[in-house]
């Protein structure tokens, strides 16, 4: 009933892909993502000190120390996200047919980038710490709906055989942006606007590299056997 070899091949490919893409992401993040984030955190701490209020729950809990420890744990998280995304890519490749080469994998990676990063970021742009935002659960719900919706929309657009279904795909792609993302009542940020903009640019680049690596590597490691 259950073919263990098929699953083992998928799992092995996903583990290697997630490990390598996660490490690559960690390296790319050091260029601009992490420096911008740390800078924004300084503004956040300053604002908190000025307000003389401790409104962060994190300060009482364990958190990695800045420096190598923080980078190490970020790498662990990136690898976990990488393996998670690679397993999803592998699951879809297993259903739709394993890729012929890493080039087909790149296309899957592009689809993942649009689904998991571009679409949700259009409504909820990547934010530096210290930015006011709507209720967390509302944002998480919108994020999840947008991702599922975009995934379905893209697959209809790519694989549907009739124009009607393809049109339905376009409607699905647009829908979450017509019902706009949850916004805070008042927008404010401890960090200056240029820093927030720089963070968006940095994450757009870093995630593109991450997703193309995920897709390409998964295409290579989970290739169709001749």
């Amino acid at each position: 009933m259950f073919n263990l070899t098929t699953f083992r091949e998928l799992l092995t490919a996903a583990l290697w892909t997630g490990l390598l893409a996660g490490l690559l992401l960690t390296a790319v993040q050091q260029i601009q993502v992490i420096p911008t984030l740390l800078q924004a955190e300084m503004y956040e701490e300053q604002a908190a000190a000025n307000a003389n209020a401790d409104n962060s729950h994190e300060q009482h809990e364990w958190q990695p120390k800045n420096g190598w420890e923080r980078t190490f744990f970020t790498a662990v998280a990136n690898i976990a996200l990488g393996v998670g995304f690679a397993l999803l890519l592998g699951a879809i490749m297993c259903l739709r047919g394993r890729p012929d080469s890493w080039r087909i994998g790149l296309l899957w990676g592009l689809a993942g980038y649009i689904t998991f990063f571009v679409a949700p970021s259009l409504g909820l742009p990547p934010e530096v710490p210290g930015t006011t935002a709507a209720e967390l659960t509302d944002r998480q719900s919108w994020w999840l709906i947008t991702v599922v919706d975009t995934g379905f929309g893209l697959s209809l657009l790519a694989f549907a055989k009739t124009k009607t279904y393809q049109f339905f795909g376009v409607v699905l792609l647009a829908a979450p942006h017509l019902i706009s993302a949850p916004q805070p009542e008042v927008h404010s940020s401890a960090a200056p606007a240029e820093l927030a903009q720089s963070f968006i640019t940095a994450t757009v680049f870093a995630n593109a590299v991450f997703w193309l690596a995920l897709g390409g590597l998964m295409g290579q490691f989970y290739q169709k056997k001749l």
Partner: protein, 75 residues
């Protein structure tokens, strides 16, 4: 008439593996595609939830920078 094409033609007509019955093909689809994909998908979602969404403080703090970078809604 050259005899080679005729020989090739005959060779192609001999099936290497007997064709699968409909039920066998379906069973293979489930064992080779559906179940492995389902299991991989569930494992992937569990990992993504733990690293990207769980609000348990140590997990959140470990993945904090990764979540901001991936544009996951974070605190």
């Amino acid at each position: 008439m050259p005899s080679t094409p005729v020989l090739l033609d005959n060779a192609q007509k001999i099936p290497l593996n007997p064709p699968l019955s409909k039920g066998e093909a379906e069973g293979r689809g489930i064992a080779y595609k559906i179940f492995p994909a389902l299991l991989a998908g569930m494992l992937g979602l569990a990992l993504l939830y733990t690293a990207g969404f769980s609000d348990i403080a140590p997990l959140h703090n470990t993945a904090h920078d990764g979540r901001h970078s991936a544009s996951f809604p974070c605190h």
